[in-house]
């Protein structure tokens, strides 16, 4: 079913989407409506236009593919499912995400993947085709962030404070445009095992955005990990 969003207020639009019996829904002319696909499971949404804040927030298994740019808090506290963005994303993308994946063709704003965490078989994945803003992966507790730098610029792959306070998970960086990193992080060249882990991720990225796998893979990769899962152990004096 195709729904025209146009100027419909987000509450009415989301109501219509929830009420729609089809598993697959196409929403055309999205004009900043918030919370599309919020908390949804088992469905597939194709969105054309510019969804508003909170796209796929608490997403629980649905797939959302966006032809356009996204605003803030894409996949905030998402649990499962996939979000594919043919464009750029704003700030706080993937905040507190626990599972599922977000693939962004272009750039992402500040505080992407902040406080991502993994749990049992759940391991969230955030892939950025271009570059990321400051505070990428701040407090990251688990899961994987990949920044590919396919933006054709010479900017660092992430802004300031990348991985600040990180205590779990990994950040992969493609190419040599390594940002300045805070203390307590370990930066290493990707090992063969890391490469193995990356391969299916890059394959998916290339499939989503019709990129050449060889071209994307043929580059140096670095991986950032924290130096401890218990960063605050020494901080306190019990009393």
């Amino acid at each position: 079913m195709v729904i025209e969003a146009n100027q419909t207020y987000y509450q009415a639009l989301n109501e219509a989407i929830r009420a729609c019996p089809d598993t697959e829904v196409i929403v055309d002319r999205v004009l900043g409506q918030r919370y599309l696909g919020c908390g949804s499971s088992g469905r597939r949404f194709t969105l054309r236009g510019t969804p508003g804040n909170g796209l796929g927030q608490y997403l629980n298994g649905s797939t959302i593919e966006v032809y356009g740019n996204c605003q803030e808090a894409v996949g905030d506290t998402m649990n499962d499912g996939d979000i594919i963005v043919h464009g750029n994303c704003g700030d706080a993308c993937g905040y507190g995400m626990r599972g599922g994946s977000i693939f962004i063709e272009g750039n992402v704003g500040y505080r992407a993947g902040i406080h991502m965490k993994s749990y049992l078989d759940k391991s969230p994945l955030l892939v950025v085709g271009g570059v990321a803003g400051s505070f990428l992966g701040e407090y990251q507790a688990g899961g994987t962030i990949v920044v590919l730098g396919l933006d054709g610029t010479s900017e660092p792959l992430a802004g300031n404070f990348c991985g600040m306070g990180m205590y779990g998970g990994k950040i992969f960086l493609r190419g040599d445009r390594i940002p300045v990193l805070p203390r307590r992080l370990i930066l290493q060249e990707a090992s063969p095992e890391d490469r193995e882990e990356l391969r299916p991720i890059l394959e998916r990225f290339c499939r989503c955005f019709h990129r050449d796998l060889a071209e994307v893979s043929n580059a140096p990769f670095h991986v950032i990990t924290p130096d401890s899962a218990n960063p605050y152990k020494q901080l306190y004096a019990p009393y």
Binding site: A73, P231, A237
Partner: protein, 501 residues
């Protein structure tokens, strides 16, 4: 060996004439104070480890034990008190941030104790709650601005979702992790039996407790631990925790060693990993952002559940509450600086925030002045110790109160203020299975029900005494209060007259 500067705070006094060396105290004390000395043929104690929790005292069959505060003291000094000196020693020794638990213990004024409640005499007769109906049922949530009718004149139900409380007392947020499984089980069952609510805190909801969902408030805090669709659906309301009275402005940190298999499942994080809740929600930097989170939660639960926003009582609390009221929240929870905690930096617990009584009065007044008091309900906590505090809170404008320390006391907590060690001898603030077993959820539930039932009865007695038979008529009725020992500024903020006026 380095010289030890710290002298133990307590002395373990054992009456050797009574002691039968049954070693019960040794088994009971998780702090390993007591030990049987075979050479001496008697029990001995290392009092440096004692936290004065009374577990051994309560369990000693011959009443041979008591714990007393040591009278050993530093040279008297009004400025450099023993406490101040000890704290410097501790930090010089460890280089660490001082960490403590439970509420602010410092002797700041307690405004509840400076407010007196009215009663009827001669005119407006008092009411006997044993003979006449008394309404203490409370609904929390936005109240519609007016009555709407359709073309045929029929009433349109424009009521937004509400929480219905049989008594205006709820159990405030304590996470599974900060307190034990059995403590949560006691709270959940008691909430159900009492027709009120308990709160998951930021720790997710254990699968065993989904059955208490209709009496559960689920919390979403900055770490988003355990937050997912089913969790949001499970509760009767969703609380966004922006702040906590014991530690306004800072986040939380559950150390990895407390994250065992069960906690890991509930919080949905790996075993042994720290659980760090950042200080702010990083998707909220403004009231507009808060509004966004409020409505994302409403969307995710299809507008069926009220959303609570919990803030700490800080200097500009009235202005902040006004913003929160406009954010779409249905209920504001305000936590005073005496609110408890499982662990907080001592300096913050003891010096940040303001008293809940002043915060409540200021918020209620501000929301009235702005004509938006009906848009939100106001729940306060930190700390409400008795039904008298409860009556005063309602008269100052609260719709209901949150209790936590009082609830833990009902479960056997002795306020030893060492929850952060994870060795609670009463089975409350611990995850050690042998200690958790000491708290029986059947008895725990019963004691909580007893406490709140007693308060409810006292509340009715006091209302009856004032000639009020419905809690609605007490809410914000500050004429029912008088101040004692307060200055004019305090009276102005509280909006009450002086006793005798």
């Amino acid at each position: 060996m380095a010289v030890r500067f710290l002298y133990p705070e307590f002395e373990v006094v054992r009456n050797q004439d009574r002691c039968v060396a049954c070693r019960a105290c040794e088994r009971q004390c998780a702090n390993e104070v007591h030990r049987y000395d075979p050479e001496l043929g008697c029990m001995v104690a290392d009092e440096s480890k004692c936290v004065n929790c009374h577990r051994c005292v309560s369990l000693c069959p011959t009443r041979a034990l008591k714990i007393v505060k040591t009278d050993h003291a530093f040279r008297e000094n009004g400025n450099w008190t023993g406490k101040a000196i000890t704290e410097v020693y501790r930090q010089a020794e460890t280089g660490g941030v001082l960490l403590s638990s439970m509420g602010n213990p410092e002797p700041y004024p307690i405004y509840w104790d400076k407010l007196l409640i009215n009663a009827s005499q001669v005119t407006n007769p008092s009411i006997d709650p044993l003979r006449e109906p008394m309404e203490t049922r409370t609904f929390l949530g936005k109240k519609p601005g007016g009555i709407q009718r359709d073309a045929q004149g029929r009433l349109i139900n424009n009521q937004t979702p509400q929480l219905e409380l049989s008594v205006p007392v709820m159990f405030s947020a304590m996470s599974y992790g900060s307190i034990s499984y059995n403590a949560h089980a006691s709270l959940a069952r008691a909430a159900q039996a009492l027709g009120t609510y308990y709160n998951t805190g930021e720790g997710g909801l254990h699968e065993d407790f989904y059955q208490y969902g209709p009496n559960t408030i689920v919390q979403v805090a900055s770490g988003r631990f355990g937050v997912h669709k089913d969790f949001l659906e499970a509760g009767a309301a969703i609380e966004i925790k922006m702040g906590q009275g014991a530690k306004p402005g800072i986040g939380g940190h559950l150390p990895g060693q407390k994250v065992g298999p069960d906690i890991s499942r509930t919080r949905m994080i790996p075993e042994g990993s720290d659980a760090i809740s950042p200080a702010p929600h990083h998707d909220i930097y403004s009231i507009e952002d808060l509004r966004q989170l409020v409505f994302s939660l409403k969307e995710a639960t299809e507008y069926k559940k009220p959303v609570i926003v919990k803030i700490a009582a800080v200097h500009n609390v009235a202005a902040i509450a006004s913003g929160v009221a406009r954010s779409g929240a249905d209920i504001i929870a305000i936590d005073g600086y005496r609110g408890g905690t499982g662990a907080a930096p001592t300096r913050i617990r003891d010096s940040v925030g303001i008293p809940i009584e002043l915060a409540l009065a200021a918020v209620d007044q501000r929301l009235r002045d702005e004509g938006i008091r009906d848009q939100v309900s106001v729940v306060i906590g930190g700390s409400v110790r008795s039904s008298a505090d409860l009556v005063k809170a309602i008269a100052l404008g609260a719709d209901a109160v949150y209790i936590a320390t009082a609830a833990l006391l009902a479960l056997g907590c002795h306020l030893c203020r060492t929850c952060q060690t994870g060795r609670c001898n009463w089975g409350i603030a611990t995850q050690r299975p042998d200690l958790v077993r000491r708290l029986n959820p059947d008895l725990g539930c019963q004691r909580l029900v007893n406490l709140v039932t007693a308060w409810d009865h006292e509340l009715k007695e006091m209302m009856g005494g004032m000639g009020i038979n419905s809690i609605e008529a007490l809410r914000g009725n500050r004429l029912m209060l008088r101040g004692i020992g307060l200055n004019q500024k305090e009276l102005d903020i509280l909006g009450v007259k002086y006793a005798g006026e």
